[in-house]
């Protein structure tokens, strides 16, 4: 069976759904980060696949950008996470409601 673009896109959609489910359900901030990484990488897979099949290099460039941005986002986010844990002894979202309006 030949692997076509649709298979890749299906994989990307599956990954995206998993990521989305994680974003909605997870209460642990660390897990939330993982879920958002899955979301970003679902997009990366889709971009790389479309780029390959349409012979357009721009999609892969975009994927690289996303990887770079995701890396820096994780670096900053984890820094905050550690600070938060030190201050509040918890990374559970239900305990972080200081922005209640």
């Amino acid at each position: 069976m030949e692997v076509t673009l649709n298979h890749y896109l299906l994989l990307a959609a599956l990954l995206f759904m998993i990521g989305l489910f994680g974003v909605i359900r997870r209460k642990n901030l660390l897990m939330l980060f993982f879920a958002s990484e899955i979301l970003l990488n679902a997009a990366n897979v889709a971009l790389a696949a479309i780029s390959y099949y349409t012979n357009n290099i721009q999609g892969q460039i975009m994927a690289f950008f996303i990887i770079a941005i995701a890396a820096s986002e994780v670096a900053v986010g984890l820094g905050f996470l550690i600070l938060m844990y030190k201050r509040m002894n918890s990374v559970d979202l239900d305990n972080l409601q200081i922005m209640k309006g």
């Binding site: 909605i24 979202l93 309006g101």
Partner: protein, 622 residues
Amino acid sequence: MEKILLIALFAPLAGSVFAALFGENKKTLVAGVIPSLFLVIGTACSLYLLTVVMSGTVVKATLFEWIAAGNVSIDFGFVADQISVVMMCVVTIVSTMVHIYSIGYMSHDEGFNRFFSYLSLFVFSMMVLVMSDNFAGLFIGWEGVGLCSWLLIGFWYKKPFATWAANEAFIMNRIADLAMLMGMALLFWNIGSLKYDIVFAHAKLVDAHTLTIAAALLFIGAMGKSAQFPFHTWLADAMEGPTPVSALIHAATMVTAGVYLVIRAHDIFILTADVSYFIACLGTFVAAFAATMGLVNRDLKRIIAYSTLSQLGYMFVAAGIGAYWVALFHLMTHAFFKALLFLGAGNVMHAMHDELDIKKMGGLYKVMKPTAIMMILASIALAGIYPFAGFFSKDKILEVAFATDHKVLWLSLLATAGLTAFYGFRLIMLVFFGKENYKEFFPKLHPHEAYPYMLYAMAPLAVLAVIAGFFEESLIALLEKAMPIFEPHISSGEFFMLIGVTTTLVVSAIAFTIYKYSKGGFSPSLENSTIYKLLFNQYYIPELYDRFLVKPYTRMSDFAWKQIDLKIIDVVVDSIARTIYSSGEKSRDSVQSGNLSKMLRWMVAGLIVLLAFAFLYSIAVS
């Protein structure tokens, strides 16, 4: 020439604005002097215009197009023609004198500057009223004088009754003005213009029935402004204002605006004989009705106010019969002697420290001779004795009534002339002669004459009250270009008989009054008689109004406020607001919970909604 007209019109406004600049300051003499000077300019311009109009030219000025909507086109125009120029002269002369007088009269009042601002504004409104060349401008002036009247009656706003009287005057005038506005609308509807020239030229073409209704509505407006029955109660109560105001507004000028309207619109009233006859009858009734109330009243100013009402009745009789020039003539002479009478009353009030009960005065002739002499002159003019001004105009009205076979009206007016002489001299006798009652009531009071310049301001009016009757010929010569001159056709024998009867009656009434009051007046037991009580309580009309109009209306308003407004309208509006508020409160609690997890869910939900939209849109486009 146009400029002179505009100067005459706007000089009082300039004076008013000038005085208003000092409105918040302490009393400044200049705030009284400058408006008076502006009025002198206005008077000079008016008199000059009088000479111009007498030579046969009508001066017109159009400031700008005022209302232009669809086929409605009303210019802001002014005119000095034969009728308005007479009014302009009367208004400016009397107001100038009253302004100068007021500088002295109001000199101890803390509202001095404010007073002059209002007074000049009144003169401006009155000038707009008389000079406008269309009904709309007349109405502006009409409302303007109403406003100034309200401001000035309630000038001493700390007195509860003064504010009450001001409101009464304003509200009664509003009721009548509604009718007038409707009359104007009816004319406009049928003719398509409000300009006098056009309206009067086309009045004949209007259906007679419609024209009668329009004339009646206009006359109801005139009744309100001229305080004719049943709108008469406000005029006596308006005496709560400062006395110069009573002299200027409630005797000489504003209350005669109703007569002016009838004279101005004589082309319409000539065509509506029924309305004119009603005017004459109502005028006769009010003349007698008001004179009887003046007989017994003890309030110095109210007596003069009833006299004004009565004289306005005379003017309406003349206008109703069709002798419009006689109405204007009596309006003019009346303005002079009645303003003089009021200003004299002001001097008496100053001397008596604002006491108004004439039974508590007496013997003031000794201490205030000039005032007494001028008031006696004014009273003789009011009674109508040759050669004083009142003789010429009032006898003319009687003559006209006699000549047109309105014998009942004539008899009633004749009797009223006797009553006029009686109450006029009753006032003089009780105030200036007889026992010095004030020494008993106010032992510490030392009455003194007013400032000399106040007397000088009264002097021109006194001169005019004496000689104004001799202007009859020139007035006829002036007015014959503007209106049909009504000359009563009676033989010279009848003419002298009429004069003889009237003069005899008036002189004997005066003689009787002087005799009776020099003997100490009527016995007090008369005060217990029914008729005295009826007259003294003004025929119980104010009480009837209070009981059958004011009280039910107050109850109705109370009901509307407490039951309809508070319980229905407010509740509905409040519940709408409360629903919106509480729904906002609830949604804020769920959205702005501060829980990141929930927010993310909202975000996802938003994303799904947007995707759905995009999907549906793409379907719709393809």
